[in-house]
């Protein structure tokens, strides 16, 4: 069913970049994120407009969608076969990014992954949510502890 797997940046403190960002989103935006990732995980290839290269950041790509009239982005890069590494999530309006240092963070986290200061962790998609913030992981694994 799913073609793609997602990974996310995990700091040495154990903080997971996308899980943390998701938690801070409004419920409606969280739902949009969940739907968006669920849908693109089922696609063989991502068209431009949904996944675009980031200018001046060779090898980095952004996943793009809009929710509540605000453009949302996840910066990352392609990992192994059909795997996308999500490094940071942000919103974007005009030329203003939230967080403003999103691109610097992207570089910083990539460096940390390279040096071992940070690592990659699997990102479980939220499918068929049955409870508040609870979903069934598509890989058949245990639900991660998401407090």
């Amino acid at each position: 069913m799913y073609v793609w797997r997602f990974k996310q940046f995990k700091a040495w403190t154990g903080r997971k970049a996308i899980d943390d960002w998701r938690r801070r989103l409004s419920p409606a935006r969280r739902a949009a994120l969940d739907s968006f990732l669920d849908r693109i995980a089922k696609m063989q290839a991502w068209p431009l407009g949904i996944c675009d290269p980031i200018k001046k950041h060779a090898g980095c790509w952004e996943l793009r969608w809009t929710a509540e009239k605000v453009e949302h982005r996840i910066f990352g890069y392609f990992g192994g076969d059909k795997e996308f590494v999500m490094v940071i999530g942000c919103t974007h309006k005009g030329r203003i990014y939230d967080p403003p240092e999103a691109f610097d963070t992207l570089n910083d986290r990539k460096d940390k992954i390279a040096t071992g200061e940070g690592e990659l962790d699997s990102y479980e998609l939220w499918t068929t949510p049955t409870d508040e913030g609870e979903g069934v992981p598509p890989w058949g694994g245990q639900l991660p502890n998401r407090d």
Binding site: P27, Q44, R64, W65, T66, T128, T130
Partner: protein
């Protein structure tokens, strides 16, 4: 899902994220470019480009109706319980989404129509064989074909309905 704002956000996502992916899938299925779809839908190409980006467009029913007409597919807009919504959502895959145009679907529709007509004719033949009173037969046959001119039934309609159920 117990959180109302989340579940209605999910409903919104089905409109704003799934519809662009459906539109793109239908366009690709037909082998059309964005300008070609724009021509079919009497829109401009940049608008089609925006329409295909998840969340970028707030769809009006008129826009959807025009797109449905361009693809020559039906458009189903209705309220539904969340269970049904989730089931659809689970099954939806942008790459596998298909909706045949009316022309593509026509042989299937015709076959379905023939099948229904055949079943109706078979039932009529079976009814003709049933040893029942003249009045009841006339009632049953008139229910099969309301335009058929038969003498009015002499039996209560409730009994006829029971007999029809038994015959079916």
């Amino acid at each position: 899902m117990k959180e109302k704002a989340y579940r209605h956000g999910a409903v919104n996502s089905q409109i704003e994220i799934d519809l662009p992916l459906q539109i793109r899938a239908l366009r690709k299925e037909r082998g059309w470019t964005q300008p070609q779809l724009a021509t079919q839908a009497d829109m401009k190409q940049p608008r089609i480009s925006g329409i295909e980006k998840p969340g970028a467009t707030h769809f009006s029913l008129e826009t959807l109706r025009r797109l449905a007409e361009a693809f020559d597919v039906a458009l189903v807009v209705r309220f539904a319980p969340f269970g049904e919504f989730l089931e659809w959502s689970d099954r939806f895959s942008p790459d596998e989404f298909r909706a045949q145009s009316f022309e593509q679907e026509l042989p299937t529709l015709e076959a379905r129509c023939d099948l229904a007509l055949g079943a109706g004719a078979e039932l009529m033949a079976q009814l003709a064989e049933i040893p029942i009173g003249q009045g009841l037969r006339a009632e049953l046959l008139s229910r099969q074909n309301p335009h058929r001119r038969e003498p009015p039934s002499r039996i209560p309609s409730g009994a006829a309905a029971m007999a029809l159920g038994a015959a079916a």
